[in-house]
């Protein structure tokens, strides 16, 4: 039961995230706030317990299972969006192509500029 304590920690951080969301009136989901809080806590602590590592690994490995019921829904809401499917399809295909191109181009230009700078410093 090494993961039980870790699971408890995750649930507590989720509840904390919900608390922050409601009290501060943020439009961000409690799970995301909990995730940021847990990352910060680990950075301050500097290491991670076996229990938390085991619990998070277990949950992450079944993420697909947890998402599946939501995905099934897309087959049942089809008529709710009739007449908009072309817009959705074009937005997804063209939007994804453009954003992939932008990311690759941006990341490689900044990395290249950095390399050049480093090389320049090296020769001096």
């Amino acid at each position: 039961m090494v993961w039980l304590w870790g699971f408890f920690v995750l649930v507590v951080f989720f509840l904390l995230g919900e608390a922050v969301r409601v009290v501060a009136g943020l439009p961000i989901s409690g799970g995301v706030i909990g995730m940021v809080l847990v990352t910060l806590k680990l950075m301050i602590r500097g290491n991670i317990t076996d229990s938390l590592a085991a619990a998070s690994q277990g949950l992450i490995s079944v993420l697909v299972l947890l998402i599946t019921p939501g995905v099934v829904g897309v087959f049942f809401v089809a008529d709710q969006f009739s007449g908009q499917w072309l817009a959705v399809a074009v937005a997804l295909v063209v939007g994804t192509l453009l954003s992939v191109l932008t990311t690759l181009w941006l990341m490689s230009s900044v990395a290249k500029a950095d390399d050049k700078e480093a090389g320049h410093d090296g020769t001096q």
Binding site: V38, I60, L65, T68, G70, V71, S99
Partner: protein, 242 residues
């Protein structure tokens, strides 16, 4: 004979009164999808989640259970998405040394690229006359599913449409990164991995781990940072526009 059919319909009632039938069906579809996926030599265009969803949709429809009945039971599984989202903080922390090593390109690329990943699609859909509900559902299309579901709920979109869009985006991003990296002559696995995770969330990350462990690590990083960035800024941006 009628007694037996009475008892059978009573059995169906009993099964449907609790969540266990939905949970059992979801587990069965998930296991079957994993098996089929390996059997078909892991096709890029057909991730296990899509196979499982198609199987479940057919079973739920043909058996007459109906989606709302199924979903009520499956809620016992989906509540775990809360702590599972929190759990994503653990790999994010474990990637921290990668962030430190390449912080400049990451710092420049992430806000622009993550904003555009949502922005391009939103702009196109808006120009083509999509309704506000569709726009709210598509906004988080490049974000990993548990986080995206939270964002869509906050924006008031349709979670099912978000998940459908997410799935298609993940598959397309895997293909497009392959093509575009060749076309732009990019061979750095760190950049390819980051682009896969930023645009294609978990599906892109699965593809990145096939390329190399380094690409996989950077893809997890891109996925995690995009999720956090989008979750923090998109609802705020939507609030300002609306």
């Amino acid at each position: 004979m009628t007694e037996l059919s009475d008892r059978l319909s009573r059995l169906m009632e009993v099964w449907l009164s609790g969540p266990m039938l939905s949970i059992g069906l979801t587990l069965a579809a998930f296991i079957a999808a994993q098996w089929l996926f390996t059997k078909c030599r892991r096709p890029l265009w057909m991730p296990p989640v899509l196979i499982a969803a198609v199987i479940l949709a057919v079973v739920v429809w043909v058996s007459g259970i109906g989606f709302s009945q199924y979903q009520q039971g499956a809620r016992w599984l989906t509540v775990l998405l809360g702590p599972a989202t929190v759990a994503l903080g653990v790999p994010l922390y474990q990637q921290m040394h990668h962030i430190r090593a390449l912080w400049r390109p990451i710092l420049f690329t992430l806000p622009v690229a993550a904003t555009l990943a949502a922005g391009y699609a939103l702009g196109i859909a808006w120009l083509m006359g999509a309704s506000p509900l569709v726009l709210a559902s598509l906004a988080s299309k490049s974000v990993t599913a548990p986080i995206a579901m939270g964002i869509t709920e906050q924006l008031g979109g349709s979670v099912s449409l978000t998940l459908g869009g997410l799935l298609i985006t993940g598959v397309l991003a895997s293909l497009f990164v392959d093509w575009c990296a060749k076309w732009l002559n990019i061979k750095d696995d760190r950049i390819i991995g980051f682009a896969l995770g930023l645009n294609g969330h978990a599906i892109g990350t699965a593809r990145a781990f096939e390329i190399s462990p380094m690409a996989g690590a950077f893809s997890s990083l891109g996925m995690g940072l995009t999720g956090v960035f989008t979750a923090l800024f998109l609802p705020l941006a939507f609030m300002l526009i609306a």
